[in-house]
Structure formats: C-alpha cells, structure tokens
Amino acid sequence: MAYRVYVPSDTTAKALGADRLAASIDALAHEMGDPLEIRRNGTRALYWLEPLIEVDTPEGRYGFGPVKERDLESLFAVEFWKGEVDHPLALGLVEEIPYLKRQQRLTFARAGVIDPLSLDDYKAHGGYRGLDNALALEPQVIVDAVKESGLRGRGGAAFPTGIKWQTVLNAPADQKYIVCNADEGDSGTFADRLVMECDPFMLIEGMTIAGLAVGATQGYIYLRSEYPLAQKNLNAAIETAYANNLLGENILGSGQRFDLEVRLGAGAYICGEETSLLESLEGKRGLVRAKPPLPAIVGLFGKPTVVNNVLSLAAVPFILDRGAKAYADCGMGRSRGTLPFQLAGNVKQGGLVELAFGPTLRELMFEFGGGTRNGRALRAVQVGGPLGAYLPESQWDTPLDYEAFAKIGAVLGHGGVVMFDDTVDMGEQARFSMEFCVAESCGKCTPCRIGSTRGVEVIDRIRAGENVEGNLELLSDLCETMVDGSLCAMGGMTPFPVQSAMKHFGEDFVKHTSDAQALAEEA
C-alpha cells in the first residue's frame, strides 16, 4: 500500500514552491517505484511552516516544514512518509502543534485536512450535514438558529446575521438574492481566500442554506479578481455541486432551488462595501449607495438581498449541523462563536488563528504570533484592516471582543492583525491611511473624495513643520468631518488610524519640530 503524502495547495504554499515540491516528490517516488500517493490538501495556514508536508499514519498526520526542494533528499533518506522519523524539519503530529492545537477551529476545521475539491472528503468531514438538516426545516427555524448562534457579520461591521436574514425573509418579493462578499481587500487578511481555496463546499453549503432560509433562489459570489485560485476552486466546486444535485433546481430531491455563480470584481477596494458591491454586481460603477433603503429590502437589482461576508456564510453549515448552541457556547459577551484572526506584518509566526472571542490581543500576538519576526520590540498594531485604529502597548490587553474594542475606539473588523516594530514612523502610517483613501475612495461623497486628498497634504505639511499647530487643528477638524460626514465606512473610518496615530504616537508627527505639545493638546 502506498503511503499518503499531503502537499498544500493554497496560494501561499504555491508561492513558496509547493507545486514544484509536489512534482519533485512525485518524481523521486517514481524513481523508487511509487510508494507514495501525493494528495493536495489546502493549508493549515501556519505560514511560517509552509510548505508544510504531511503524511498519514495510524496515529494521525505527521508534519514536516518548512520544506524546501533541497530538503527532499534528506527527507527521502529518513523515509519521512513513515511519520515519526528523526529529521530537523519534523514537526510531529500536526494536530499537536500548539499553534493549531490551541485554536478553536470551527470554520476552519477542514482547512488543510481535506482535498478542497473532493466532495467525498468534504462529506466525510461533516460537510453537507447542515444542509441536510436545513432542508427539513421551515425557513423561520433556520433563521432562528442563526439568530440563536449569535453569529455577527464577519466582514467587519458585526451586524447580527440572523436579524439581517430575518429582514430578507420578511420582505415580500418575487426574487431574492444571496450575495457573498468575497472582495477581501483589507491589508493583512486572507481568511476568505483560505475558505474558498481550501474548503469551497463549505461556502457553497452556507449560501445554499441562506437561500433556503430567506427564500432566495440565486446566489452570487462577488470575488476579487486578485484571487484566481479561489475562482478556479469555487467554479470547480460549484460544478461538482450541480452535478450532485447540491445546487440547481431540485436540491437533493427537495424541490428547492438554488443557483450560484461567481462574479469577478475589478480591483476596487470600495467594492467590498456592500452597496458598492451590489452596484458593481449590477454592472455599474462601484459607487456607494445611500442607506436606507437597506440591501436586505432593496438590494441587488432592487430585490431583497442578503449580503454576507465569506466567513459569516462559512460559519452557517456548522451552526446547522452542530446546533446554534454549539456555536454560541464559544465566545464572550455579545461576541459569540469564533473569529479567524489573521496574523501578518512584522510577525514571527504568521497565519490563521481561529479563536473563540475572549483572549487578549497580546496573547494573540505573542503566544500565537511569537512577537516580531526580526525580534525588535513591537510598537504598534493595526487590527481590522486599513481603517482600523493603531493600538499602542497600553491597549494590547484588550480582550478580542467587538464591544471591548469599540470601547477603545478600535475595531476587530475582519480579523486582520498587522504588527509593526519600533522602527515604524507612525506619521507616515497616518499619511498612508489618507493616501489609501485617496486611492480607493469611490468619489461619491465630498468628505471622502476631497477630504482624503487634503488629509495627505495636511499631514505632509505637519511633517514638514509648516504651521504645525494650525495644521494639527485642521487635521483634527478634517478627521471629524470625515467621521461625521462620510457616506460609508470607507471615509467614515479612514480617520481612525490617523486619530489613533496622533493620539498615541504624536511624537512621530512632530519629530521635525519641537511642537509635540500642540499635538498632545489637539489629540
């Protein structure tokens, strides 16, 4: 019997040479008479260990990583496929690696375990049990389950998913839609990509259940064009699902219909904002719509529409399979379930960390992340993407909880965590926030359209030492104007990183002047 070897296949592993590695292992195995069966799993998302090669043994899967081409000779020499062998890259049982073991992987339970495109694998690991259950339930019961699970929008806004679904369920219409927001654009985030690349059936199942719950028969996955592998895997999985009556006009013989299509974005960050996304999906410019009306009532093509992030929809099969309570049992306060955090930036152990809400930011960054990659002191961290606040050390003990973060003027957002060491110039980071808004503003509302450009200019003047006091006041006014006046979260949150940088790292703005005092007063 051939030994089974797993070589990861997500974009990150591929970028680190996983495909070449797979081919080389195959070639070497061939030379020795094919004792190895190579399977392509997704990824465990322990990125500092990628490419992480796994082998099946009766005790479980053993891992080796990070494996380079040059390591193959020695791995073959020790017959790595037997698992427990002596090799510098040997990691032992993968499930026992503390980074993974200490996580609560509900959504990412299958990531890296299964072949992403194998429906059998998916089903063998609990897939489609949620849909089976849902098909036997009244729509209201499904919606109630999602409500009881406490699931909140994982795209960043944290709006209760069940309430959104209830609104769509209650809206009478001849056509409703489920739209999956897969325009993952936050800096340092990759959880959506991992779902789509490593476990695409989970998203399909989640969207199908959503369709049953609210009476929508058509779903769209709005995918950023920068994710070609996700597109490929999704399309392949959708095709398989159709072929197995898991999509289409008669899902598993129930007489219920749900169709699903992937649509590509065109590189605009703003199209991750749900109303811009809908405009784009309709074939128009990605321009933010005013709310009300809510997309749940007047959404895609004017019809009631559920717009949910990949992670929100991906959490649904678990809830319908294991019950709302199983999900709600995780977490703290009003933040129930788990959030897949993504550690990036200057971090030693980057990767995906799915945790029940509750631990502190410090635990996440140090106990999982292991501090900075270069060993320098950590100075600032931006949580929740480019619109999230920069947090100084004094705030690192904040629990990972929506409300706790809101209290300190920060957001958890989509769970991206980007770390900076003590060489960072926070004045430049503040400028970058405005610059990002300049590049990505849709241009509809004035505070964002003109304000971001002026923001860059004012910060430049401050950093150049021009009328620092006056310009700091102006910057502070501008931030207030953008927060109070912008049409959507893009302009409304751009000031958060700026204001937090001014408040906590004021010295970086005025290091060219002696006017630090003025800043402190303004902030």
């Binding site: 005013a290 509302c445 359209r449 002026r454 049409l487």
Partner: protein
C-alpha cells in the same frame, strides 16, 4: 394635510405618492407628509430649508454632498436628510453647532478645489455653491489653494448651446443623474474615482460627439457654472421670467422664458408644466434663436405679380391691398373662389379667427388646416369609433402602463419629452411593442425590458392591426365584460364576425406585412394580457391611403381589450405640431365648426350664425388638395395662408407649385419668406410664440397659455392681422385681447364651455372637455361613457395601396423626422441645430446599396411617379431591405417632389409614408432642384429690393 406646491422651489427630493401620512417634528415644527417623503422634503414643505447641493426634486436622492446632514433623536451620527425617510414621531434638528461646523468644514473642502472667480463667473448670482457657502458662513479655506486641484481642467465648448467648464465642477452628479433619470439617454457618467472623479460625456469624447441629445437637463441640473448656457455666458443672468408654452411639437412643454428686458436669455423648462414637469428637448430648450433671426419678415409687403420685386408697405396698405383683391376676385369668380388655411402652429384664438374670417367674411367653408396632411385621419377615425376626435389620456398616464404599443411613431425624435417619460416607464419594466418599418431608437432604450419589434412593410398597417385583433378575438383574449357594458352590440357582432375570418390571421398576412406570424401572435398576447396596455401612434399611422382605417383599427384593439377609460391605457395620437389638436378643435376643417360640430347641423350652425351675425354655408367647403385642383382648373383664385408652408410640406411639390402659380392672389402670413411666400402677392409678417398671447392645445387636449414676452417684430400679433383683414372686408371684428376670443369660443363650443383665461391662470392648464360636467377639465376621457354613448367597433378591411413597388420603382420610400430639426425646418434651420442635421439624406439598407454600387455620401437620384430629386446616401440598417427613408426638413431636398397625390380615402391625408421609388447614383442635382435654386435666388433678390430706398 394638503400641501401647497410651488413650482419655483426645489424641495430636494421627489414627492412620495403614498396615501399614508406620517407626522414628524422638525426644529419643533410639526408636519405631516406622505410616507416615503424624505426628511429634506418634509422640512422644505414646512419652509425649513436645509442646505443642499447634490439634491434636486426631479432626481432620486443621492446623498453625496453631505451638506444636508441633520440630527435625529435616537439616531447615531448625522444622517443626510435627503436619503432619510420621514418617520412617524421622528424629531429632527436641522441647525445646531455640530451641524454648523460639519457643513462649514464640508464647504471648506469644496472650495479648496474651486476657482475663486465668483465676480466674473457666469453663474454669479445664480449659483447654489455660492449660496451654500454663504448659508454655512464659510470664512476661510485653511487648506490653501496650492494643493491638488482641478482648476486647470479644460472647457468643452463643442456643444453650440452650452459650455462644460470642468474646473467649476463639484462632482455632485446631478448632470449625470438628470441624463439618466430624467432624459433616459445615459450619455453622461463619472469617469475615474475618488479625487479624480470627473464628468465625462460618452466615452469621454466631448459633448457633441457623445450620445448627448442636448436636452439641457444637465445644464438645468448643474448647481454651479460648470454647465452653463452660452447665452448666459454672453448676456449674464436674466432679470425676469414669464411662463409660456413651447411652439414646437405636440407635447406642449411649459417653459420659463427668462428675460433681460425684451431680450430672451434662455428658455428653462417649467416644473409647474403639467405636460413636461420641468423637462425639455434640444428644440424647445435651445432652438429659439430663429425668433430674432435676420431673416424675419419685419414689415408687410405686396406685389402685383410673383415675378416682381416686393414692396414694403404699411399694415393699412397691405391689408387694404389684400382685401381689395379678395373682394374683386369674389366679385368676378364667385363667393367660392377664395379660401384660407389655418395653422397648427398658431394659437387656438388665431386659428379660430381665421376660420371665422373665412366662414363669416369670405362667406364660404373653404377653410382647411395643415392637420389635413398629418392627423386628419385621427380626427375621423376616433370620432367614428370613440365619438371624440382626440387622444384619450394624459402623458403621465403612461407611467401606469404595463405594455406600450407604439405604431408608426418615433417619440424619442419627434416627441422627445414624452419619449423620455416613456423610457422611464420602460426602465421600470413595462413591455414595449414597436410596429414600424424602421428600427427606432426607442428599441435601444437603455435598461429596456421586454421589447418586440414588428418591422412591417410600409403600407401594411391595416393588415397588421387586423392581425393583432384577429389573435385577440380567436384566442379568447377579449375583455368581454367591457365590451358588453361599453360597446354597441350590433357593430361589435359584425366586427367580430369580420375579424375572426382566417384572412386576417397573422399567418395569412405574413406576406403582406413581412412580419413572422408567431411574433405578431406573441405581441397580440402581450398587449391583450397586460393589466394596462396603451397605444401611442403617430404619422406612420395616419399618412397612408388607409390612415383612417388604421386609426379605427387601433381603437378596435383598445375596445376589444377594455383598454379605455382609466390611467395607463388608451389610444394616444402623438401630434406633430404644437397646436394640431387645437387647430382641429377650432373648426379649421371645411365640414366642421369649432368643437367638431358639423356645418350641416342646423342647431350648431344656428348658434354660430346668431353669434357671428351671418349666414353660414351648410355645405362643407374645399379641402387643401381640392383647393389645389380647383386652382389649377381655374375656379379657385385666392388663398389666405397663415403659418403653413404648403409648398414645402404638401406632397407632390410640382403640383402644389402649379396650383400656387395659378392663383390671382396668395396672401401669406409668416415669420419668414417661406417656400409658399415665394408664390405670394401679399406677405404679412407673422409673430412668433414669444410675441403674442394665446393658447395652444397639446396632444393630450391640454390647453396651455402662451404669453407674450417681447413685442411683435412687425408690430402685430397674428390674431390682430386677421382682425384687420376681416374689418377691411367689412366684417367687423373687435377684440382687445385673445382672452375675449377664448370667451367667444367657450360660448359656442360645448367642450370648451368652462375654459377662460382666468381659469387657466388658476389651474395652470386645462384638458378639454372642460364644462359644467368637468369644471377643471378631463385628464382621462371616456371613463364612464362615450360621447356617442357606446363605442363603435369599425370594420377595417385591408385594401393595399395602389402605390406599390414594381420593376420600375422597386423600393419603398418612407419619410419622417429627426430630433434636431422641426417639420419644414423654417425655425430650426435658423438655429445652431444645424450642427446635427444640415441636410436631408437618404437612408438605404446596405443590401440595396450594394446592389446599386452605392457608398456612403454618394449623390443619389430618387425617382417616383411624381418626380425626381437628389440626396446624399447614408447606408443604414435601421431600415429593412427594400425600404428607403428620408426627412423633409430642408426645402432644397425636394422630398415632397417625389411623394405622390395618393391620400387617405376618408380625409385626403397624403400618403407620405409610401412612395415607390428607384434610386441610382448621379452626379448633379435634379432639374427641380436647379429650378428651385434659381427661384430661391430670384425671390430673395425681390425681398432685398423691397426696402424703400434709404433717404
């Protein structure tokens, strides 16, 4: 609570049509508004004016400028009042320190990217940005002006009527939204994003080269000087304005004529106009320059013979000269030897007076009108079937239609403002059926839903309409309840037996119409099954040998499906000229007194005789074509033509010219030396709609006021000229003002009994019938019953026209109109509209062109049984093979040299839409065109010689 609507105020967002009211409190003021009303509009209704820049009440709320932020009790943040619906019990504050600061800071951002040249800016004094800067108290721009900006953005001056100055743009998107939502052209967009966002026409190719149709909606929507009329740039802001009615097509748009003294600065569509609700097209909005064109006839002129130079004379002399000739001719050749033609471009009062002059002073019924050559079959056909010679609906009714059947009409070119309304409804999902030989633009409406084109052969309308009816009857799609209750039994039974005969089946007539039977069946089902289905038709229906039959067939369709008598349905003739409806209403036809009262009806005639103090002939007089024939035969010797150019617009030009040459006295009253005037002995200067008072009646029977904004160029309004001529003919007429003429009309015409200028002032406009039964008019007709009691199904046998393609003339020519030009072009050719259409061309299908070796722009000789002319070729797939198309806006084109004497069997409306022709490449103009050119030169020389020698 009833809300007063002030058309001069911008309420920020459109009105909600909900009947549920919600009550909220704004700045402590309680107000009740329909559910769905925005907080901004609710505030405006309470006279609380929230600052705004991107909002306008003809556009959906957009929420981009953020100046309209308010504070609402219990709500987070500062929501935009334009996008926030008013809710029951809501408490709103529109002014406080926080809001003031936010607004000032937003305005500071705006002004940091805006030129500071207010004093020399064309919008100075009429700039919303300036107003808002003032309102929020902006005092400084702390950002300075050396940051990134658009101050050097280039101007687009490609459009002749307005300038796009990108440096002044605040990217509020009002222009883009107006182009999409109001006009429905979608020519404008915002290009780029963020700070780089800019307005772009088409694919950023400039306004003139883009799909822009110059309707002016963007210019009107612009809150700054970015889009400004060139006339305002040149003349400055107007100082007063007068509301009046456009004198172009039958839509009858209301405009504010914005004036500086007696100089017209610009025409701005009036929001209070019930036909147009503040929208316009390129003609009404911009093409008014003809009114002050150097070609205007400024003094009366006479001459003894058409081979003589004109002589400029006083009004008294000209009128005296005309009267003397008319009297002499009648004395010599009899009372019937003279006649007159009223104009569908003149006012109701003027038209009424001309027919009165003919009936009372000439003493005969030789009166006709240019409606003879356009919508006379409508008058006949609808009277026969529905009992009234008029369309049944308001324009707004289309917004309730679920299916719109357009037959032989091209609304986006010929009735553009209605076209835009229709397109709005089509975008909302109404299905469209177009029966037309050409692929008209309506079929390319952006965001159109279900649409079917039935590209029938010219001349097969009756076969098509019968086939549609056949399907309805044989597939059981009739509204039997409606028919039983509202239609006359015998006529229906006869019609039903007639129409279900297999010879009317779509399959049977496929060869005649050229349209696949299953398409016709599908269209019939769509029309019949729609909850509300409406028919709109134009001259493509009437200008045929069976024009009246098609009109009756259309009425049959509406009756059979019960699509009469409520909103969203009906039979709607789209009238070509501004007052076609009115000129027909006013008794212009030889057989009908005002209000369609037959001259043979002794009771009606008696009323007029009593009022006018004369005896009226009980025999109908001559129709226009009869006048021509009689002139050539020698017993019709004099003609008074007010505001119609029969020499250009009537068919078979050479025949018309021969008739005109035969006259002893041709009196032409017109604003220009038109083609007819070249054959005239007396030329009386006409006045434009800007120079007189009166009323026009549009295609929806709406009587609109025309108000004088400048003095008549030659001293007299048209009605005054007719009065003078009557008096000179010893028939006394005494009116101090057109309102007195209307009073007389009201007294003699039952359907106008309730109309008066006072009531028009109060109501804005009135749709007849307006009388004791309908004191404020009748938007929808035939709601309870028909004027003839029960409606009458008419038998509509298809009789093919004798004008058929054969080996000698293998192609069928059909004629029509284009957006930028109007009718004979006398007005629009004297404006910058020439930019879009400076010559008539022959559109020919590539297949027919290929066969003849024709390329684009080749000179083509076009011959028919009637004549020969030469036009340039334009190869186009809008037509089907075998059909060619042209317009007749330029006299030297000679389009009507080719059209024949064939006409509608009932009304003599010419068969303009079908002429068998041959087309071949040529190298020189036709003989007619050469003669035309020579005569044109000679007659203009005569005109220049008219002026008395300088002292």
């Amino acid at each position: 609570m009833l809300q007063h609507f002030d058309p001069n105020k911008d309420y920020g967002t459109p009105a909600s049509l909900s009947e549920n009211l919600v009550t909220l409190e704004i700045d402590g003021v309680e107000i009740s508004v329909p559910e769905g009303t925005s907080v901004m509009r609710a505030a405006a209704l309470a006279d609380i004016n929230i600052p705004k820049l991107c909002a306008s009440d003809n556009l959906d709320a957009f929420g981009s400028c953020r100046l309209c932020a308010v504070q609402i009790e219990g709500r987070r943040g500062l929501p935009a009042s334009c996008t926030t619906p008013a809710e029951q019990g809501m408490k709103v504050w529109t002014q406080n320190d926080k809001l003031a600061k936010l607004r000032r800071n937003i305005m500071e951002l705006y002004i940091s990217d805006h030129p500071l040249d207010c004093l020399t800016c064309p919008a100075n004094g009429n700039c919303e940005l300036q107003d808002m800067a003032g309102s929020v108290g902006l005092r400084e721009v702390r950002y300075g002006f050396d940051g990134e900006n658009h101050l050097d953005a280039p101007k687009d001056t490609s459009n002749p009527y307005f300038t796009f100055d990108a440096s002044k743009c605040i990217v509020c998107s009002r222009c883009v939204r107006a182009c999409s939502e109001v006009q429905g052209t979608f020519a404008l967009t915002i290009d780029g994003r963020g700070f780089d966002s800019k307005v772009a026409a088409g694919q950023d190719e400039g306004f003139l080269d883009s799909e822009c149709v110059s309707c002016g909606a963007c210019v009107q929507a612009c809150p700054t000087a970015t889009l400004t009329e060139n006339s305002v740039i040149e003349m400055g802001q107007p100082e007063h304005s007068v509301v009046t009615t456009c004198a172009y097509c039958g839509v009858g748009c209301s405009f504010k004529a914005e004036m500086k003294g007696d100089k017209l600065v610009r025409m701005v569509p009036y929001k209070g106009g019930d036909a147009n609700h503040g929208h316009s097209c390129v003609k009404g909005r911009f093409a008014f320059g003809y009114a002050t064109h150097k070609d205007r006839i400024r003094a009366p002129m006479i001459r003894d013979s058409i081979d003589q130079p004109w002589k400029e004379v006083s009004w008294e002399e000209a009128i005296g000269f005309a009267a003397k000739r008319l009297k002499a001719i009648q004395a010599e050749h009899g009372r019937e030897s003279i006649g007159g033609i009223t104009s569908s471009r003149c006012t109701n009062e003027e038209t009424y007076l001309v027919q009165k002059l003919i009936r009372a002073a000439f003493g005969n019924n030789n009166t006709d009108t240019c409606a003879r050559v356009c919508h006379s079959p409508t008058g006949y056909g609808l009277k026969q079937t529905l009992g009234e010679s008029a369309g049944t609906q308001t324009f707004d009714s289309v917004m309730k239609a679920d299916c719109v059947l357009v037959i032989g009409a091209n609304p986006t070119d010929a009735h553009p403002v209605f076209g835009s309304l229709l397109r709005r409804r089509l975008r909302e999902g109404a299905s469209l059926i177009v029966a037309d030989p050409r692929h008209i633009d309506l079929l390319d409406t952006p965001h159109l839903g279900d649409a079917t084109h039935l590209p029938l052969r010219p001349g097969s309308n009756v076969a098509m309409v019968n086939a549609l009816a056949h399907v309805i009857v044989t597939e059981g799609l009739e509204d039997t309840g409606f028919i039983a209750k509202r239609c006359e039994d015998d006529a229906y039974a006869k019609w039903r037996a007639f129409i279900q005969d297999p010879r009317h089946a779509p399959e049977a007539v496929e060869e005649v119409t050229g349209v696949a039977a299953d398409k016709v069946r599908e269209a019939a089902r769509t029309y019949a099954k729609a909850p509300n289905a409406a028919i709109y038709y134009g001259l493509g229906v009437t200008e045929h040998s069976q024009g009246s039959t098609t009109v009756m067939g259309i009425a049959n369709l509406a009756l059979a499906t019960g699509n009469i008598g409520r909103d969203g349905v009906g039979v709607n003739p789209l009238r070509g000229q501004n007052n076609v409806q009115g000129s027909c209403d006013m008794g212009s036809f030889p057989h009908e007194l005002p209000g369609y009262q037959h001259v043979a009806d002794p009771v009606a005639r008696g009323r007029f005789e009593a009022a006018w103090g004369v005896e009226i002939d009980h025999e109908p007089g001559l129709r226009i074509p009869n006048m021509f024939d009689a002139a050539i035969a020698g017993h019709f010797r004099a003609l008074y033509v007010q505001g119609e150019d029969i020499a250009q617009s009537d068919p078979n030009t050479q025949h018309v010219e021969q008739a005109l040459r035969s006259l002893d006295c041709l009196i032409v009253q017109d604003i220009f030396l038109n083609e007819t005037a070249k054959f005239a002995h007396v030329l009386l200067p006409g006045s434009t709609f800007l120079e007189k008072n009166g009323t026009f009646t549009n295609a929806e029977r709406r009587i609109n006021r025309v108000r004088k904004v400048m003095p008549p160029i030659a001293g007299k309004e048209d009605w005054e000229v007719t009065v003078a001529l009557a008096n000179a003919l010893d028939y006394p007429m005494n009116y101090a003002h057109p309102s007195e003429i209307m009073d007389e009309i009201a007294q003699l015409t039952p359907s106008f009994a309730g109309v008066s200028y006072d009531k028009l002032e109060q109501q804005g406009s009135l749709q007849w019938p307006c009388n004791d039964e309908h004191p404020v008019g009748s938007p929808i007709m035939h709601v309870e019953s028909f004027p003839i009691g029960k409606a009458h199904f008419a038998i509509t046998e298809f009789v093919p026209t004798t004008e058929r393609a054969n080996r000698r003339f293998p192609l069928l020519l059909t004629t029509g109109r284009i957006l930028s030009q109007y009718n004979v072009g006398a007005q629009t050719r004297r404006t910058d509209n020439q930019v879009w259409h400076d010559e008539d061309v022959l559109e020919i299908h590539p297949h027919d062109a290929e066969e003849r070796g024709i390329n684009d722009n080749d000179w083509l000789g076009i011959s028919s049984r009637a004549g020969h002319t030469v036009l340039r070729a334009r190869i186009s797939e809008r037509m089907q093979p075998g059909v060619v198309y042209t317009t007749f806006h330029h006299p030297h084109s000679g389009a009507n040299v080719i059209t024949t004497d064939n006409s509608d069997w009932a009304t003599n409306c010419p068969e303009y839409k079908v002429t068998a022709v041959q087309v071949e490449k040529v190298s020189q103009p036709s003989d007619w065109q050469k003669n035309f050119h020579d005569n044109h030169q000679r007659q203009h020389k005569f005109l220049h010689e008219a002026k008395p020698a300088a002292e």
